[in-house]
C-alpha cells in the first residue's frame, strides 16, 4: 500500500484526488488546500483528511509520495520542500516557471534518489504511445518534418482575470496548452534544440498570449511547425493533432485516431498504403476511469514506481522537465519579434 498526499484542489487536483481515492493500492492520507470552501466541501462529505497547510499535512500524514497540483508559480517551493522531506513527487505540468528551478529540482531528486514525475498525460494516451512505438521501430524511416497543433475553447472572449491571465503566475496558452504539445513532440521524436520565428499571439487576453506559433528544430535534424491556440471556439474541447513525415511513410494522429501511410518504394506490398487504427486498438484497461484512461494510467505508473523504488518514468523530470527549457527558448525568441 502506497501512502499518498495531495496539495492543491484545482481542476487537476480534484481529478487526482478522485483517482487516488478510488485506487485500491493507494491510501490517500491527506489533502491540503488553502480554500476553506473546498476543504469543507470535500472534507465534510468524504473521509479524506483535509489540511490547510501542506507542511502540516506532510508532517502529520507522512505520505510516501505527494501529488502537487497548485498554480505553477508555487511548484518549485512546494516540490523542493517535499523532496527535502524524502517524498516522491508527482508534479502537475508545467514543472516550473523557469528552467533553472526545474534543473535544481531535478538535481535534488537525483541526489536523494527520488522520483519526480510530471503530469504530461499525453505520454499515456494510447494513440500517441503507438506513434512513439512506430517511430522508435523505424517504421516511418528518417523523420524530416512534422506539424504539431492543439486548439480549444478556453478563452473565447474578454473575461475577468485569474492566475491564468498572468504570465508570472504561470498563466497563458504557452504554459498551459502549448506545453503539452511541446512535450509531446519531444516524447515522439526526441529533444528540441532550437526554435525560430516564434509568435506569442494575444487574441482576447490582455496580460498573456492566447496562441503560440513557432518552428521547432530537433536534435535528430527534423524540424516542424507548432501551432497552438486556446481561443478557438470551433473546437468543443482541447484537440491535439500531430502529422509526421518520414522517408518511409507519414502519419496523422490525434487522441482518437491514427492514420499511417507506408510508401511504396521502402515497404513490402502488403504493408503499403493507408492503415487506420483507433484509440480502442491502443488503449490498455484501467481500474478506475475519470475523463480518460491516460489520467488513471499516469497515476498508476507513478504509484507503481513509488512502490518499487524506480525513479525513471517516461514522464520523469529528466525528460519532461526539458519542456521548461523549450518554453524559455520560445519566450526569448518571441521577444526578438521576428528579427
Amino acid at each position: 500500500m502506497v501512502k499518498a498526499g495531495l496539495i492543491g484542489l484545482g481542476k487537476m487536483g480534484i481529478s487526482h484526488c478522485a483517482i487516488l481515492n478510488a485506487y485500491p493500492n493507494v491510501d490517500l492520507v491527506g489533502v491540503a488546500d488553502t480554500s476553506k470552501l473546498l476543504r469543507w466541501g470535500i472534507g465534510k462529505y468524504s473521509t479524506i483528511p483535509m489540511y490547510d497547510d501542506y507542511k502540516a499535512m506532510i508532517r502529520e500524514a507522512n505520505p510516501d509520495c505527494v501529488f502537487i497540483a497548485t498554480p505553477t508559480s508555487s511548484h518549485f517551493a512546494i516540490a523542493s520542500y517535499c523532496l527535502e522531506q524524502g517524498k516522491h513527487v508527482f508534479l502537475e505540468k508545467p514543472c516550473c516557471l523557469n528552467y533553472a528551478d526545474t534543473s535544481a529540482l531535478r538535481k535534488m531528486a537525483e541526489e536523494r534518489n527520488l522520483l519526480v514525475q510530471i503530469g504530461y498525460h499525453n505520454r499515456f494516451l494510447g494513440t500517441f504511445s503507438e506513434v512513439r512505438r512506430l517511430i522508435s521501430a523505424g517504421e516511418l524511416g528518417e523523420i524530416y518534418n512534422f506539424t504539431a497543433e492543439s486548439y480549444g475553447p478556453v478563452v473565447i472572449k474578454q473575461k475577468e482575470e485569474t492566475w491564468r491571465s498572468k504570465r508570472t503566475e504561470g498563466g497563458g496558452c504557452l504554459y498551459d496548452y502549448a506545453s503539452h504539445v511541446i512535450n509531446l513532440v519531444s516524447y515522439l521524436m526526441g529533444e528540441i534544440k532550437g526554435v525560430r520565428g516564434t509568435r506569442l499571439q494575444k487574441v482576447f487576453s490582455k496580460g498573456v498570449e492566447d496562441a503560440v506559433y513557432s518552428t521547432l528544430f530537433l536534435d535528430s535534424g527534423a524540424s516542424g511547425h507548432l501551432a497552438v491556440s486556446w481561443s478557438e471556439e470551433s473546437f468543443r474541447k482541447m484537440s491535439t493533432k500531430i502529422s509526421i513525415y518520414g522517408r518511409k511513410g507519414r502519419l496523422e494522429c490525434d487522441s482518437q485516431e491514427l492514420k499511417v501511410f507506408f510508401n511504396t518504394s521502402e515497404n513490402p506490398p502488403d504493408k503499403q498504403g493507408w492503415h487506420i487504427s483507433y484509440l480502442t486498438d491502443h488503449t490498455p484497461r484501467v481500474d478506475y476511469f475519470l475523463r480518460g484512461e491516460e489520467y488513471s494510467s499516469q497515476v498508476n505508473d507513478f504509484v507503481n514506481r513509488v512502490a518499487s523504488g524506480d525513479t525513471d518514468s517516461i514522464n520523469s523530470i529528466k525528460y519532461s522537465g526539458e519542456t521548461d527549457r523549450i518554453i524559455e527558448l520560445l519566450i526569448k525568441d518571441a521577444e526578438l519579434g521576428g528579427e
Binding site: 481542476k11 498551459d176 480502442t280 484497461r285 481500474d287 478506475y288 476511469f289
Partner: protein, 285 residues
Amino acid sequence: MDRVIFGDNQFFGVDHLSEENARKKAQRFKDTREIIKVLDAAHEVGIRTFMCTTYARIAEITEHFKSDPAKYQDWKFYPCMPYAHKYANAVTELGIGGALNHFTGGSVMGGLLKGGMAVVQRDAFKMMQLMVDAELQMFKGVSAPVIFLQNVVTDLLIGLGMEEFFVEFEKYLKKKYNAEAGFITMNLPLTTRRLQAAGISKPIVCASLNKIGFRMTGSMEENKQVLAESGVRGIAMQVYAAGAIKPREAMDYACSLKGVESILFGASSKAHIEETYNLINELST
C-alpha cells in the same frame, strides 16, 4: 424503461472515433429542425425514449414535442446533466471559486462574504438543487421520468467517496419532479457497489458495455456478474465500442447481458435507426 433508448451524441459534434465525422454531423445538425427530423424518424420507427444532455438547444426540441401532445403523448426525455464541458472550460478560465460563482449567479462567494462558511454549509444541498432546477428548466411540460447525472460527475463523486450527494439528488428528483435518478458511469461495478452501500438498492446505471471492454473498468466477468446479480437496472451504452465492433455482433453481446434493461444508441438516418431498432428487438426475444 423501454428496451431501446435513442441517444444524442450524433447531434452535438461528438464522435468517439473521428473528429472529422463529428464536424460533418455538427454542420448538419446546426439547424435544430434537422435534429427534429431525425427524432421524428425515430418516433415513426417505434422509439419512445430520447436521452439527451442539457444543452441550451434542447429547449427548441422540447418545444416541438409540446406542439403536438396527441402525437407525442408517450414520448419520454431522459435528461443528462450537467453539460460538463461548459463547466470544465469555466474552471480552467475562472478557477473553481469563479466558476461556482458564475453558475450560481454569485451565490457561493456572496454567501461566503455575507454569512461566512455557515451559510454555504447549510446551503450545499440547496445549491445542488438550484443547479438541478436550472438544468431542468428546458424540460418543463414534457415527460422526463428518469434524470441522469453525467459520468464526469458520477465518477468524480464516486472517486471522492461523496455518495451522500447521490442520495440527496435521488430524494430531490423524487420529491420535486416525481422522477427517478439515473447514473451514467464508466465504472459500472464500483459505482453500483457504492450506490447500493449508500442505500440506493436498485440504481439505474448507464455504462459502457461492449464485447471488447472499451471504456469499461473492472473485469468483463465482474461487469457481467454485477449486472446479473446485484439488482442494478442497467442501460448499455457504447455498445459498438466507438465503431470497433460490427452491429450484429455488438448488439448480440449487449442483448445477452442479464440485468441490462435498455440499450442506448444514436444514429442519423431513418434507415440506420430502423435497422438498429429491429436488430435489438430481434436479439432481445
